[in-house]
Symmetry: C2
């Protein structure tokens, strides 16, 4: 059983995150691909919000006060493109747009939430490890 049993350890020359959202092809490692998406500064935050219930653009903006409009739009597009969230435009005046998690998004959110729970449950252990490491480095 080699180390690549769980995942393809071959790395790629491809950039870690999408730049031009419409030009990006699927990288040859799904793990790298997911991590690069989730690893963005705002993706997890938005997934957590939308896992609770649907929200409109402006609501999300207020929930995450220091996200820029640019990054909110961009991150929502990426999540939509990957199929994790859906986008519905209501033809009101002015228009309102609602985002909601898809079934695929919810299925992703299950293991993701477990990981986030781990982060909270073990934050103290990590804090201690860091303090110890920094000490020993003088």
């Amino acid at each position: 059983m080699s180390a690549s049993t769980v995942v393809n350890l071959r790395s790629t020359k491809a950039p870690l995150r999408a730049v031009d959202i419409s030009k990006v092809t699927f990288t040859d490692c799904p793990v790298r691909d997911l991590i690069s998406q989730i690893g963005g500064k705002w993706s997890v935050l938005l997934l957590e919000a939308l896992a609770q219930r649907p929200y409109r653009f402006g609501e999300l903006r207020r929930m995450v006060p220091d996200i820029s409009q640019r990054m909110l739009t961009q991150t929502l597009r990426e999540l939509q493109r990957d199929g994790y969230i859906g986008r519905e435009v209501f033809p009101t005046k002015p228009p309102s747009v609602e985002y909601r998690m898809t079934d695929l998004g919810y299925s992703l959110y299950e293991p993701l939430a477990q990981l986030l729970n781990w982060a909270e449950a073990n934050q103290e252990a990590v804090r201690v490890a860091r303090a110890h490491f920094d000490q020993s480095q003088d």
Copy 2:
């Protein structure tokens, strides 16, 4: 049950990833903190390798051919600082250094592996979602 039940949605002004490894204080959101660490380009790859068995520096380098020496060292240090992996120096000549996962690292790896499994199991669904999205955008 508010949206912040699962995790603190407050975002921070802190940079996403550590720059000077010894200067970084724990951010006020453990989730942001974990995501910023494993969201790095190489962390997950190295955790997967070390979840299998201990490896030496050079072995890891050969397993992940296109990681630079600089990033291998830096990422290993970060993982060590957070307490996920341990580092042991053998006083041979020339010296050899072995890295191995700690108990904390293994406990992290459990939910992490679930997430990675999801990525592999659903890569086709994501690929389809992307193709559909790109289509509809013309």
